[in-house]
Symmetry: C2
DNA sequence: TTGTATGCGTTATCAT
DNA sequence: ATGATAACGCATACAA
């Protein structure tokens, strides 16, 4: 495969390199005749412009930087976020962009997100999950670079997140109206996560709004994001003499531990206690009992984030809302039983 | 943040741009004095060389292209491969490389893997999962670019895979020696996957070697990679009057469907039939009954693939074996019961 | 409408 | 040991 660039092509086509560049970029004036002639030739010989040269010259790289904080320590293994990322990826790739994971290490150099982005000339940044203690993120969203997130909500950052408030409201309504229960407890997730915080706040808010009795003993706290934390939290719940009738758990991952703890202690779900999770990760339907849960629409989340970011990149003038709320949907399975 | 490049630095340091380049690349002769002086200044002002310019000049981009075939239609959501990728990612990032997903679309152009790689000047390619029908992959491994895979095994392609043969042997030995059962059936996965093919072959080989009776009715075929296929296959198995005593399932994902089917038909696992999976995906321990399975070491797989690829990149002369086999380990849980 | 020249930030070859 | 200079492949302002 012999090398080809606009110069070699120019020679072969007997035009100037500049003209080729113009048709490549749809810029400047060039006659329809030469345009199609060039285009056809390019197609025929399979020429593709070298990105590095392009990047060097212009400021765009057709690349989107991805921040996927690994504080959860599982990164791509996270069943919820990796799915959202997958949908984001599919969408932007279809629009001709590609993804590049932002690392704070470039070759042997260590740099901030912002530096990395400037160095790589990314067109935008997608924060799949981020850490609020991360000063690098503040610096980044203070810059000119478009940033969108499906996790953090922060001033100056465009967020696309599930409507947690409304979701929790629905869960409580369902518990009262369909399950016919009023004693609703909660397994609260780590509050450093905005989503978990919102869910907890909504729980308190609507328990009050609906005049449901809040029993502090029926509220337990998961220390982490996973199975083990759910198991532990449930153990604390089991320390009480009475159980709530319905248990709302902040996330499915935590729910897995909850279910296992109940099972190990011969507590029958849903007959002794009903459990409602949040997320609808794939496993939710495979566990026993299968888990009733509030589905977050991972596809819509990823795609909306993608659309939002691309719009910010390509039409910098159009205003986009700071927060875009995505609807959730209750998926009814075996862990609840309608009265 | 004012722009900086080797010229501005050169001016400020009162040396020539060339000298700076030399210390940056540890090349050519430069006195220890100026070297440290330059290094310190660079550190102080936080200068980082522009990758695009570097790429334009040299052929390396410190980037590894990733092929993650989405034929399974879940991409990053795949619990096994995304985990292997995660470990690969962590390793290479630590070595100063970064990952970039290979797409067959660059901007508005459509190109082959090879073209994309040459255009991006990737240093190597990692095939997480690939498709054997993909002609682009053949072209790629026929090229000069180092390629490694944790899925496909193909001539000219370095593969890092689990030792399926030995794994299946262990499963059968365990069934006979610990479970004390001889009637061992199998749920066979789609044979377009090399791994599934190897597992099936090993099953037949060692059933014979151990003089165990093969009952064709106890061998059923899953049409796909997921839950549903496992469920369906199990239905076929249930059509027979007698069940095997132990059922070896080609993968955990398929096993989930198998377990559910048994549960729906009131077949008690492990008392009526024992089930052994393959992979040890995270869910395996959360389902009921929790799944005995042959663990694939995703961390070792990812890291070994990373090491292999980096070694090919950085020391092109050293020979690496075509296939590196990784040990697996049997994880005993509730779906089997030792006699 | 088309061609020419210059710069983007490096690396590498050659002088000095 | 250090400095000057020519590529690398493209975009673009300007000239023709």
């Amino acid at each position: 495969m012999k090398k080809q660039n606009i110069y070699t092509l120019a020679k072969e086509l007997d035009v100037s390199p500049g003209t080729i560049s113009k048709v490549l970029n749809n810029t400047g004036k060039v006659s329809e005749a030469t345009r199609t002639r060039i285009l056809e030739y390019i197609e025929k010989v399979g020429y593709v412009p070298t990105m590095s040269a392009r990047m060097l010259k212009s400021k765009s790289s057709k690349t989107i930087g991805v921040i996927f904080s690994e504080e959860l320590n599982i990164g791509l293994e996270h069943p919820f976020f990796s799915s959202v990322l997958q949908h984001f990826k599919t969408y932007v790739e279809n629009e001709g962009y590609e993804l590049s994971f932002i690392v704070t290490k470039l070759g042997k150099n260590r740099l901030s997100y912002l530096k990395w982005c400037m160095n790589k000339k990314v067109d935008g940044v997608y924060i799949v999950v981020g850490n609020y203690n991360d000063k690098g993120i503040e610096e980044l969203i203070g810059s000119e670079i478009p940033v969108v997130s499906t996790d953090m909500v922060l001033k100056g950052l465009k967020a696309v997140v599930s409507d947690n408030d409304h979701a929790v409201k629905s869960i409580l309504e369902y518990s009262v109206q369909k399950l016919n229960k009023k004693k609703i407890g909660m397994v609260v997730g780590p509050q450093q996560s905005k989503a978990f915080e919102q869910r907890f706040n909504a729980y308190k808010k609507y328990m009050n709004a609906f005049n449901l009795p809040i029993n502090e003993k029926h509220i337990v706290y998961a220390q982490g994001f996973g199975f083990t934390s759910g198991y532990q939290a449930t153990l604390n719940l089991l320390g009480n003499e009475d159980l709530p009738e319905v248990l709302f758990v902040s996330s499915d991952e935590i729910s897995l531990g909850v279910l296992k703890a109940f099972q190990d202690h011969k507590i029958d779900v849903p007959n002794q206690i009903q459990v409602i999770g949040f997320d609808d990760i794939p496993v939710a339907r495979y566990v026993t009992p299968s888990l009733t849960t509030m589905m977050q629409d991972r596809k819509i989340l990823g795609e909306t984030a993608a659309k939002t970011l691309l719009s910010m990149i390509e039409n910098p003038d159009t205003e986009v809302p700071d927060v875009t709320l995505i609807d959730t949907k209750l998926i009814k399975r075996e862990s609840t039983k309608e009265a």
